[in-house]
C-alpha cells in the first residue's frame, strides 16, 4: 500500500506546464485543420480485434494491446488449449477487443461503417492517442497522440497539394523551419521494372537511401547480396548518382523511365504536385527524394515526409496516397490520401528550440490574497465579476500566512496579486501588485477590469 505508485513504462503523466505546451501545439494544428476544411471525428479507443488484426503485418499484430474479455475469460478455451499454450490461438479465445494502433485503420473502418451518411469527398481530421506494445525508448512511447488529416473519395492530386500546403501552414505557425520530401511509389515501381527487378522494389529503395552514407560501391555490394543481377545494378547507376534540382531530377528520371507506363505516370504525378505547390508561394522547401521509402507497403502514389531543419530528430510529419483505403473492409474503389503530424516529436522540437509564446504558461491573471472570512467574501465577489468579464482570477482558499500565499502566486506564474484588507474593505478598493515589476497601485474593481481589458 505504502509503496510509491507508478505508471506503466512507456506511458506519461503531463503536468500543467507540459499540457500548456502540448495544447499550444494541438490547438495550432487543429486551427489549420479547420481553416482547410477538414472535419473533426473521433473513434473509440477500443476496437474489435477483428478490425485491427492483420492490418499492420505480423509484427504489428504482436504490438497490439489486447483486452481480456469480461466475465469468464477462459470459457472459450479448453483445458487442452490452455496447457498447450498456443499463444496466438489463445489470444483470440481470451480477447475480442484491443486498443487502436493508429488512426488510419479506424478511419477506414469508420468510412465503411458510416458510408451512407458521408458526403464524398470526405475530409476528416482526428487527434487521439494510440497504443503500441513497442519496447519503450527515448522518444518512443507506448501511448502517444497522432494528429491525422485525410481525404477519402477523391483521386485528384489537388488533395496532395493541399496537404503540402497544410504542412507548410502548421509549421510556419509553430515557427519550425522544415524540409518537405516527396516521392512517388509509381516512380520506384517504374525503376524496379525498368532494370528488370520488379520484385526488389524495397531493396532498391533502401539502397538509394544509403548512397550518401556508404557510397555507391558498398550499395552495389548490398544489392548483389540481395540477388540483383549485374545488369540491373549497372542500369541503376544513373539513378543512384542522380543530383540536382527537382526539375533536373524529374527530367533525368523521365528519360530513364520512358518505357515504363507506371513510372511515367509517377513522374507526371510528382510534377503536378511539386508545380502546384510551388505556384502557391509557400516558404517550405520541397524536395523530390527517391530515397523516401516510408509506408512503401501500403502507399500507392505520392509519399510525403517533413523534417525539422534545425533539430536532428527524424520525420515529424508523414503521409501519402493509398488507392484502396477501405478495400480491406470490403469496400473498394475509394482512394485516400493523408498525413499524420507526430505530436511527440514536434513537442521535442518545440522544446529544444524554445518556440512557445511566454503567455501560454500564465495561469490566472490575478490571485486575491485571503485575509479571513469578511475580506475573503468581498474578494470572492470581485473574483466572480472579473470572471464574468472573461478575466481569469482566483482567491487563495485558506487565510494562510501572507508569505505562503505570495509563494503560491510566484510559483504558479500569476502576474498580479489583489489585496483586500480591512482598509480596502471599507474603501471599496483593491491593492493590485504587479508580481514582475514589484509595483503596486490602488484601484476600484472597474479600474481593475479596465486595466485587464484594454
Amino acid at each position: 500500500m505504502a509503496q510509491k505508485p507508478s505508471i506503466p513504462k512507456g506511458t506519461r503523466d503531463f503536468s500543467p506546464i507540459e499540457m500548456a505546451r502540448r495544447n499550444y501545439i494541438f490547438d495550432t494544428i487543429k486551427r489549420s485543420f479547420k481553416l482547410f476544411g477538414y472535419k473533426h471525428i473521433e473513434t473509440p479507443a477500443v476496437e474489435n480485434l477483428s478490425t485491427l488484426m492483420g492490418k499492420y503485418g505480423e509484427e504489428g499484430d504482436k504490438l497490439l494491446f489486447k483486452i481480456l474479455n469480461s466475465g469468464d475469460f477462459l470459457k472459450n478455451a479448453s483445458d487442452e488449449e490452455l496447457t498447450e499454450r498456443a499463444l496466438p490461438k489463445l489470444t483470440n479465445k481470451l480477447c475480442e477487443k484491443g486498443l487502436r494502433y493508429d488512426l488510419t485503420v479506424p478511419f477506414a473502418r469508420f468510412v465503411v461503417q458510416h458510408r451512407n451518411e458521408l458526403q464524398m469527398p470526405f475530409k476528416r481530421f482526428q487527434i487521439q492517442p494510440v497504443w503500441r506494445a513497442d519496447r519503450p525508448q527515448k522518444g518512443r512511447y507506448r501511448e502517444f497522440y497522432q494528429c491525422d488529416a485525410d481525404v477519402v473519395g477523391s483521386d485528384s492530386l489537388n488533395n496532395e497539394i493541399e496537404l503540402l500546403s497544410l504542412i507548410d501552414t502548421v509549421f510556419s505557425d509553430l515557427g519550425i523551419r522544415i524540409l518537405i520530401k516527396v516521392n512517388n511509389r509509381k516512380i520506384l515501381a517504374g525503376i524496379a521494372e525498368t532494370i528488370g527487378e520488379s520484385e526488389k522494389i524495397v531493396d532498391i529503395t533502401v539502397a538509394i537511401d544509403k548512397i550518401d552514407k556508404i557510397g555507391i560501391e558498398n550499395v552495389n555490394s548490398e544489392l548483389r547480396e540481395k540477388g540483383l543481377s549485374e545488369n540491373a545494378i549497372g542500369k541503376l547507376r544513373p539513378i543512384l548518382e542522380m543530383q540536382g534540382s527537382n526539375d533536373e531530377k524529374l527530367n533525368l528520371m523521365a528519360e530513364f523511365l520512358k518505357d515504363s507506363e507506371t513510372g511515367m505516370k509517377g513522374i507526371e504525378e510528382m510534377r503536378t504536385v511539386l508545380d502546384g505547390f510551388d505556384r502557391l508561394g509557400h516558404e517550405s522547401i520541397v524536395e523530390a527524394d527517391l530515397s523516401l521509402a516510408r509506408g512503401l507497403n501500403y502507399y500507392t502514389g505520392t509519399i510525403i515526409e517533413a523534417k525539422a531543419r534545425d533539430v536532428e530528430i527524424g520525420s515529424i510529419t508523414g503521409g501519402g496516397r493509398y488507392d484502396n483505403l477501405t478495400g480491406v473492409f470490403g469496400v473498394s474503389g475509394l482512394s485516400g490520401v493523408g498525413i499524420s503530424f507526430g505530436a511527440d516529436r514536434i513537442y521535442d522540437v518545440m522544446n529544444q528550440l524554445d518556440l512557445y509564446p511566454s503567455s501560454i504558461t500564465e495561469s490566472v491573471k490575478i490571485l486575491f490574497v485571503n485575509f479571513g472570512d469578511s475580506e475573503a467574501l468581498q474578494s470572492m465577489k470581485y473574483v466572480r465579476i472579473l470572471r464574468s468579464a472573461g478575466i481569469s482570477a482566483e482567491i487563495y482558499p485558506d487565510s494562510a500566512k501572507m508569505k505562503k500565499q505570495m509563494t503560491y502566486a510566484d510559483s504558479e506564474n500569476i502576474p498580479y496579486v489583489g489585496i483586500v484588507g480591512e482598509t480596502e474593505l471599507n474603501d471599496g478598493t483593491i491593492v493590485v501588485k504587479n508580481m514582475i515589476e514589484g509595483k503596486q497601485e490602488t484601484l476600484t474593481l472597474q479600474e481593475l477590469i479596465d486595466k485587464f481589458t484594454v
Copy 2:
C-alpha cells in the same frame, strides 16, 4: 473480410456534427475551468492494475478493463492454475495493466507520485475518457468522457463555494437551467448517531430518498426490515417529514443534532457553504437535501449534485469532499474536494433542448468550385490567402459536374460558394454566391476578405 465492420458495444463513433456539439460543451467547460484557475493535466489511459484494483469496491474490480500482458502472457500461470480456472487469481497473472475507470484515482496517484513538484493547494482539471465494463444501456457507455475539477491540499470551505460557483458558471454559459443539491456526510452520520443506529447510515439515507415516492409508512416498513429499532424509527420521523426553506431545514436539523458533535459540524459546514454561495449572487437554485447519497462510501463532508430543471435525466454533475484522497497511496493528510461534469448526459440535455449556437455546425466559410486546372490553380491561390487571413476556405478537389459540387456545399453547410470561371480568371474577380439567400455578387479577393472580416 467483406462483413461490415462494427465497433464494440457500449462504444461510439462521433461524426463531424456530433464532434462540433461535443467540442462546444468541452470548450465551454474548459474555458470556465481556466477562468477559475484550475490547471490542465493528463494521465495515461493505461494504469497499473495495482493502482486501480481495490479502489472501486469488489464490483468495481470486475468492471475494470484489463490488458493482456505482451509476449508470453501465460508465463506466470502454471498448468494447474489454468485448468483450475480460478479467474481473479489468473487475472493477476495474465494482466498487469488496465484502463482507467475514473479520473479521481489516477489524480490521487498523480498527486502522490509528483508530490514534490506540486505547489499546494493544487487545483487541477482533467478531461479524458474512462472505461467501464458495465452492461451498456441507453445513456450508459463503456467508453465515456469525464470532466473533473478538484482541489487538493486545502480544507477551506471556500473551495466548495468556488465549485458551486463553477457549476453555476458552466451551466449558465451552456444555457441549461439547473437545481443544485447539497448534502453533508457529517449530518447524515449525526442523524444515524442521534437515533442510535450509526451502522445504518446508508439505509437511513436511502429511506430519506424514498419518502416522496412511497410515503412515510412504507419507508418505515423498509427501515424495520433493515433492522432499525422502533425507537430509532420514531426518532427519525421529524427528519423524514422535514419541509421548508434551506434555513428552516438547517434550524430543524440543528435542534435535532444538538447532541452530536459530528452532526453539528456538518450543519456548520453546510451553512457556510450555502451562505457563501448565496452572497455571490448566482442564478442557480441551491437546495439542502438530506436524501443526496451519492458517493457516501468515500465522501467525508460536503456532497454536491446538479440536475437539469427542464429535462428528466438524473444528475449531470456531482462531487464532494474526501478528507483522505491520497491515503490509499500512502500519503495521508491531504484533503480533496472536486466535481465531475457528466459530458454525455449534458450532451443529451443540450440535444433535447437544442441549445447549440447555429454557428458551430458551419464547416468552412467558402467553397471554391473547381472548373479545371487553370481555374483551380487560381482558386487555390485565393484559398491560401483567405486562410492566411484566418478565413476557412476550401476548393472542391475534382473538376466534377457543377451540380455535384453544389450538393457538396449544401450538405456540408457551407454558407458561400466562390466561382472562378474563364471570365473571372481574366477579370481577376470571384463570383460569390450566398447559399442561404441564393443571391450572388462579383467581388475582388480583397472585397471578399473584407466581407468576411467586418
